[in-house]
């Protein structure tokens, strides 16, 4: 990966380690969350803003659970010919339902998450991607979830 490692001070690290969940649902949540970190709400907000901009954070806010909202979610993979990789990546990424897409070093070399408003729509999107790319899409919806974690130590 080409991405640069960013510089963080102790307070930034505390924010990353302590605030991956539990951001308050209150009128002044930054002030409430900042108290435990020994800073004020404004400083917490400024630090989160800076870390979103410098890439230390990829997101800030509520993380929704697709299936519990009645939506569909799956992991899918394609075996893409190397010389057509960029073209196929472009086609796949055009689909709004494709949330994340990673290149991986395997014969199945493109792995992406599909999130849809309804469970039925997952199969439709897979068919549409197969038509658009001319390639077989392997569908691997979760059967069971053993852990989805919070545990990144900065």
């Amino acid at each position: 990966m080409k991405q640069q490692t960013v510089t963080l001070d102790a307070t930034d690290r505390a924010i990353i380690n302590d605030l991956q969940g539990g951001f308050p649902l209150s009128e002044e949540p930054f002030a409430d969350a900042a108290r435990d970190l020994g800073i004020d709400g404004h400083e917490l907000m400024v630090r989160i803003d800076r870390m979103l901009k410098n890439g230390a954070l990829s997101r800030f806010g509520p993380m929704y659970h697709a299936e519990k909202m009645g939506g569909g979610l799956t992991l899918a993979a394609i075996k893409v010919p190397e010389d057509d990789f960029e073209n196929i990546a472009g086609i796949v990424n055009e689909f709004a339902e494709v949330a994340h897409n990673y290149a991986r070093d395997h014969a199945l070399n493109m792995w992406f998450v599909i999130a849809t408003e309804t469970p039925e729509r997952v199969d439709e999107v897979i068919s549409e991607i197969e038509v658009a790319t001319g390639l077989k899409v392997h569908n691997m919806p979760k059967i069971d979830e053993f852990f989805v974690g919070l545990r990144f130590e900065a």
Partner: protein, 171 residues
């Protein structure tokens, strides 16, 4: 399905139009102002207390998994992100999946279907390291726990992020 999923599927939480507007307003992130739920309330045509009450309900119901920061592990120096995949005896995958999911270096752990003949693996565990050797050492620890129950495994390292928008669940 886990027990938690069973309970919820028996009592699907009804989302009304205001809930869906709140999801739409916040699925891309929460705005950075000292009173961020005021802005959400304005956008969805409600008031701050109602937005907070509705989001608390969604949090308790598991519709919101959590609220907070999502670190970009690459930027934090975790550049070796391996999807370890295992061909595990179906009779033992529940028992073993819970053991592996409890390891502190595993960030996601799922049972997924095999896609034979191209894909024989049914247990997927994400491990993260500062380099590939560290991620591979984690895979070795998983292998030791799975023992004979795992017939084969591989680690698929990500070589590039092609897209990362976060989930867009409501259009």
């Amino acid at each position: 399905m886990s027990m938690e999923d069973d309970v919820l599927s028996n009592a699907i939480i009804g989302l009304d139009e205001t809930d869906r507007r709140i999801i739409k307003a916040t699925q891309g992130g929460l705005g950075l102002s000292l009173r961020p739920y005021d802005a959400v309330a304005l956008e969805v045509g409600s008031d701050t207390h109602d937005v907070i009450r509705r989001m608390k309900r969604m949090l308790h119901a598991g519709i919101i998994r959590r609220i907070g920061v999502v670190p970009n592990h690459y930027a934090l120096g975790y550049t070796a992100n391996g999807m370890t995949v295992w061909d595990v005896d179906d009779a033992r995958i529940d028992e073993l999946g819970h053991l592996i999911g409890a390891l502190d270096f595993v960030s996601h752990c799922y049972h997924r279907p095999r896609n034979l003949p191209d894909w024989r693996y049914n247990l997927f565990c994400m491990v993260h390291g500062h380099d590939r050797a560290e991620a591979e050492a984690h895979a070795d620890e998983i292998a030791a726990i799975l023992g004979d129950a795992a017939r084969n495994h591989e680690i698929l390292f990500s070589t590039r992020i092609l897209k990362k928008t976060g989930l867009r669940l409501v259009a």
